[in-house]
């Protein structure tokens, strides 16, 4: 037998004891053929295209799960940024497209569909303007639709008009869903350097440069990496820690590669990318914060955290790069607060602040993610936070994002509870010194010298 029993046991343990899974198999679909000047005709075409193209997605993924014995947590769909469709129709409100996407997602059995999105980093076209204006109502009136807006790139700089518009949009989303802890904000991401093949929600889109249909896979495995680090001797040096993480990342990625190839073949579409992100879940032990603590930092957020996270992120990429030739998406550790029990504990104990999280986003993907803040936080303050994250992304030529939940009626120390994968989170304190002038200056923060690469 070519496979040793120890290797079989190792794989089975990773799955049964350490929460190893494929986090998402995401079908990317182009909606380019659905455009029409009549919004109702367009919504009907969108519904029909998504339901016919994705009808086999969930049954196929469930069959793969059984045959390979690997849980596939989420089956999802991403679509062409809807702003493109918005530009072709004569009406201002593009919420009917969101409603059509929501119905289609329900029909084919996926929990989220991403792509109610726009690119505005260099200016706001008609489609983007309509889409952004429709986001609050679209997210408040649907369960499965996720929205994202790109407001900055390394090549273009940061569009501060779009930043402020998105800050107001976040506030409106919070107000419209105030009775449910402002849950609409959990489905809205503001990006710098958005990628076109991200399989993870809420920021998944199917970019303009993608084929008609594609399968992208997001791996996971914080629990496995934590167990590997935990098993090392306490005096193992950090080179040994990096080596152990790298070897594990290779194995996790290979599983993702296999599932991506097989899923694409069975769907009869192109295989896109494997996203090497370590994505935590609210499940105990499936935590990026706990990996940092297993490395020896007293509590996530304490001094040493950024360095430990940088080591983790780098080792995951190095191992993953050997495991697949199709790396893509965000590919880095995620640090969402509400979806990671270790992060929540760190916030509650006072070890982890928004400012430390901001520092951490400079060395990993993706940004200030799933952070509940007081409901009375001003739009200008939120715009300042978004602009800061954009600066980190733009200058370092990496993706950063902001998914803040200004929970209406909540103050520091309260909790928001979304349930499921979105989890729950303590409301974190926000620095009160943003002022109002900077955010309202508008205009564009010019692209940095790093953009001049030709």
């Amino acid at each position: 037998m070519h496979i040793e029993p120890e290797e079989i046991v190792e794989t089975l343990n990773m799955i049964s004891q350490q929460s190893l899974d494929i986090r998402t198999v995401t079908l990317g679909l182009s909606l380019a053929g659905c455009a029409d000047s009549d919004i109702d005709v367009m919504a009907k075409r969108v519904y029909e295209h998504v339901t016919s193209s994705a009808s086999n997605l969930v049954p196929m993924a469930e069959k793969l799960e059984r045959e390979y014995g690997i849980p596939i947590c989420n089956k999802r769909i991403s679509v062409t940024p809807v702003a493109m469709l918005g530009a072709t129709c004569s009406t201002e409100d593009v919420t009917p497209i969101a409603l059509a996407l929501d119905r289609a997602a329900h029909e084919v059995g996926v929990d989220f569909i991403g792509g109610f999105s726009a690119l505005t980093h260099k200016g706001m076209g008609d489609g983007a303007r309509k889409l952004i204006a429709s986001i609050p109502e679209a997210l408040a009136s649907t369960r499965r639709v996720c929205a994202s807006v790109n407001v900055a790139t390394t090549r273009a700089g940061t569009n501060m008009d779009a930043v402020l518009a998105m800050a107001h949009t976040v506030k409106k989303c919070a107000e419209l869903t105030a009775e449910h802890d402002s849950i609409a904000c959990a489905k809205l991401v503001v990006f710098a350097n958005m990628v076109e093949d991200n399989p993870f929600m809420a920021g998944a889109v199917h970019g303009y440069g993608e084929p008609a249909a594609v399968i992208n896979v997001g791996i996971s495995g914080p629990g496995v990496v934590r167990a590997i680090v935990d098993a090392l001797p306490k005096d193992a040096d950090l080179t040994a820690v990096a080596e152990a993480i790298k070897a594990t990342s290779f194995k996790i990625t290979r599983m993702g590669e296999l599932v991506a190839r097989e899923a694409a073949a069975r769907m009869g579409v192109a295989m896109g990318i494997v996203d090497l992100s370590l994505a935590p879940t609210p499940a105990e032990g499936d935590s990026v914060a706990e990996i940092i603590e297993a490395m020896g930092v007293g509590r996530c957020g304490g001094p040493g955290t950024t360095a430990a996270l940088a080591l983790l992120n780098d080792a995951v990429k190095k191992g993953g790069a050997m495991g697949t030739s199709s790396i893509g998406g965000l590919s880095g550790a995620f640090i969402p607060v509400s979806e990671d029990q270790g992060m929540i504990r760190a916030v509650e104990s006072g070890a982890l602040t928004i400012e430390k999280l901001e520092a951490m986003t400079s060395v990993c993907s993706v940004g200030l993610d799933m952070i509940a803040i007081p409901g009375d936080t001003t739009a200008e303050t939120i715009a300042g936070i978004i602009a800061d994250e954009c600066a980190i992304g733009v200058v370092n030529a990496k993706t950063t994002a902001v998914r803040l939940i200004p929970a209406v009626g909540k103050v520091v120390g309260d909790r928001v509870e979304f349930g499921g994968l979105l989890g729950e989170a303590p409301v974190m304190a926000v620095n009160q010194w943003a002022g109002t002038v900077f955010a309202r200056r508008a205009g564009r923060v010019p692209a940095p010298l790093q953009s001049l690469r030709n």
């Binding site: 029993p5 079989i8 794989t11 089975l12 059984r66 014995g69 194995k251 599983m255």
Partner: protein, 91 residues
Amino acid sequence: MQTPAILSVLGEDRVGIVARVAGVLAESSANIEDIRQTIIGGVFSMTMLVTVDEDSTSFDEIQLRLSQIAEDIGVQITLQREDVFRYMHRI
């Protein structure tokens, strides 16, 4: 379609485990290519490389039959396509 798969059994040792598992495989036209079996501290551990003939019996059906005897005997049985292990542990 001939599909290589790894079957693993883990549980308390008792009479007839190998016979029951082999019986299901034979009924399902799945060929046993290799077997390794150990007992450590009373825990029975067996891994088999088998070839599943999906034209005769589907993967799902064999898994169902195995899950029934697993419950009967009180052991854990998993049947997974072999390539998942090959992908993870071999370059």
